[in-house]
Every structure is written in structure tokens, then in C-alpha cells.
């Protein structure tokens, strides 16, 4: 009886430790990355990603299952395209993995920032599409360090005038205010830095200006 109890306790501990440390990199066997047969001329057309975003719920659940993420924890994860759609990635299960929104410093928000940067570099002709696809699918954290910098700082002068740099925001010190709706988002949330209109500021400043946390929590 005692042995059974100990075995159960050990299994429970293993389960909790697995949940406590979500992967910050995908398993290359489960998620090697996959692309559509497209080129730079395709992915740089405005609206391209929206046209090709097709991930059925069944496929999202399969990605969670493969990584052992309980369905109840799905809100803590983004089903991420390892090679983003904007860089020609496909919706195949081989390109999907559950990426934590909450791990620090490497999380879904940070990868989204890298994806935006790489897309701009590809479309401006500074980086080859195949090179960007390879870099982000091999190790997105190394790619982040290469194309953005250690700790996520943007090169001097690249930030928008009058706005704290997105990289500073990605450090977790600032919230993203959707100036149209009046709601603000915390780092790692779905719409952090994503809405058409908005700006970064401290949470204290956002509250002082009358903005409110999205969905009550900003997450």
C-alpha cells in the first residue's frame, strides 16, 4: 500500500515538474518546421498571413497532446507556427507547437517580436527568406540574439520616435495600451503590441490615464 502511494506521489511530482517547466524550444522531432511552396513575392504581400492562416481546433489539440500539455492549461500557451506564416511557414502539425506565454524571458511574445523583425528584414531584401526560415526553425532564441540582440535591445535609432522601444517593452516592464478600446495588455498576452492603434507605457501610467486591463487582468 505504501509502495503504491509512493509511486503515485512520484508520478504526481513528475507531472507537476513537467508543467512547471514548459519548453522554450520545440522538440525538433515533433516540430521540425514546415513551409508552403511560396517565395518572398508571396509573403511580402499585405494580408498574406491572414489568407493562409488555417489551423483547425483538432490540430491545435493534437499539438497540445503531443507535448503533454493538459487542455485545461491551454490558455497559458500559444499554438505557435515555428516558421511563422509571414515567413512561409505552413499549418502542418510539423510546424506547430505549444509555446508558453508565461515563461521568462523567452516566451511567445518575444518570438512574435522576432517574427515581425525577420519579416521586415526579408521584405526589405536584407535577409534571404530561406535563411530566415532556417534560423528560426533551428533555434529561435539564437535567431533572436542574432537579429535583435542579447536581451532583446533594438539597435540604436530603430525605435519609433516618442515611443519606448518594443524591445524595452518586451522586457516585461511596460504594458501595451490599445488606445482605441482603452484596454491594456500585459507582456505575453495575445494582443501585446499587436493592435493597430496603441502605445507602450507603464501600467501605473496606463491606469492614471484611465485605461483598464483587458478582460480585467490584461492577460
Amino acid at each position: 500500500m505504501r509502495r503504491t502511494f509512493l509511486a503515485f506521489a512520484a508520478l504526481l511530482t513528475l507531472g507537476f515538474s513537467a508543467l512547471a517547466q514548459p519548453p522554450i524550444l520545440p522538440d525538433p522531432k515533433l516540430t521540425p518546421g514546415d513551409t508552403f511552396p511560396v517565395g518572398r513575392a508571396d509573403v511580402c504581400v499585405p494580408g498574406y498571413s491572414k489568407k493562409v492562416r488555417n489551423v483547425p481546433i483538432a490540430l491545435k489539440r493534437e499539438a497540445l497532446r503531443r507535448y503533454g500539455v493538459p487542455l485545461g492549461d491551454r490558455r497559458d500557451y500559444e499554438i505557435d507556427h515555428l516558421i511563422p506564416l509571414a515567413l512561409g511557414g505552413s499549418n502542418s502539425i510539423r510546424n506547430l507547437w505549444p509555446q508558453s506565454r508565461k515563461t521568462s524571458p523567452w516566451n511567445a511574445g518575444k518570438k512574435d517580436f522576432l517574427e515581425d523583425r525577420l519579416h521586415k528584414l526579408v521584405c526589405s531584401g536584407k535577409v534571404d527568406l530561406a535563411e530566415a526560415q532556417k534560423a528560426i526553425s533551428t533555434n529561435w532564441i539564437d535567431a533572436y540574439r542574432k537579429y535583435i540582440g542579447q536581451g532583446g535591445r533594438t539597435p540604436k535609432g530603430e525605435g519609433k520616435a516618442g515611443v519606448p522601444s518594443a524591445a524595452a517593452a518586451s522586457q516585461g516592464s511596460l504594458v501595451w495600451v490599445n488606445t482605441r478600446s482603452g484596454a491594456y495588455w500585459k507582456p505575453g498576452s495575445s494582443f501585446y503590441g499587436k493592435t493597430k492603434q496603441g502605445q507602450y507605457m507603464s501600467e501605473q501610467e496606463a491606469r492614471a490615464k484611465g485605461f483598464h486591463p483587458a478582460h480585467g487582468t490584461g492577460e
Partner: protein, 97 residues
């Protein structure tokens, strides 16, 4: 089977001009110059010579093209999420999935 709303809305009313099956791929050309390419896990079934697209159904790796009048083509996708490509007459991406 579930309706693929996005693809159905795009191809609805397009008239089939030509179909071509090669091992692992089915190519449908429409009279407006657009082309639908589908990567297959198995051989393509016989295709009707004429028809107008009505809707597309999709569940997992199964895809069904419904054409008017009364044709139903069942296909097995090679890799769900990365097997279908629709481009317009100018070659611009309309749909990938």
C-alpha cells in the same frame, strides 16, 4: 464532414476547365485562370470533365470537393494544413492550407 468556409467561399461558382492527376498531386484549372493544387496521400480518383465548384468539405486528412451537377470527389491529403494551394490567374496566393 466540416465545411471549409474559407476555401468554399473562394472557389464557389468557379467552372472547371481542366484536371490533371499525377502521382501524389491533383491539379484543377478553372476557366477564370485560377489553379487549385492538392497534394495527395493516395492516387486521385477519376475526375469529371466538367463542373462548377459548389463547396469544399474537410476533416483531418479527408477532403471532399463538391461540384455541380452532382459530383463528389473524395481525396486523402498528404499533409493536412500544408497540402492545398489556390492561386489566381496572376499567380497570387488566394489560399494555402
Amino acid at each position: 464532414m466540416a465545411l471549409n468556409r474559407k476555401l468554399s467561399a473562394l472557389v464557389q461558382k468557379r467552372e472547371l476547365a481542366k484536371s490533371e492527376a499525377t502521382p501524389g498531386q491533383l491539379s484543377l484549372s478553372f476557366t477564370d485562370g485560377s489553379q487549385l493544387l492538392i497534394r495527395l496521400a493516395s492516387a486521385a480518383p477519376p475526375m469529371p470533365g466538367k463542373g462548377t465548384m459548389e463547396k469544399v468539405l474537410e476533416t483531418g486528412s479527408r477532403l471532399v470537393l463538391v461540384l455541380e451537377p452532382e459530383s463528389r470527389i473524395e481525396l486523402a491529403l498528404a499533409d493536412p494544413g500544408a497540402s492545398i494551394s489556390l492561386r489566381d490567374a496572376q499567380g497570387t496566393v488566394e489560399y494555402l492550407g
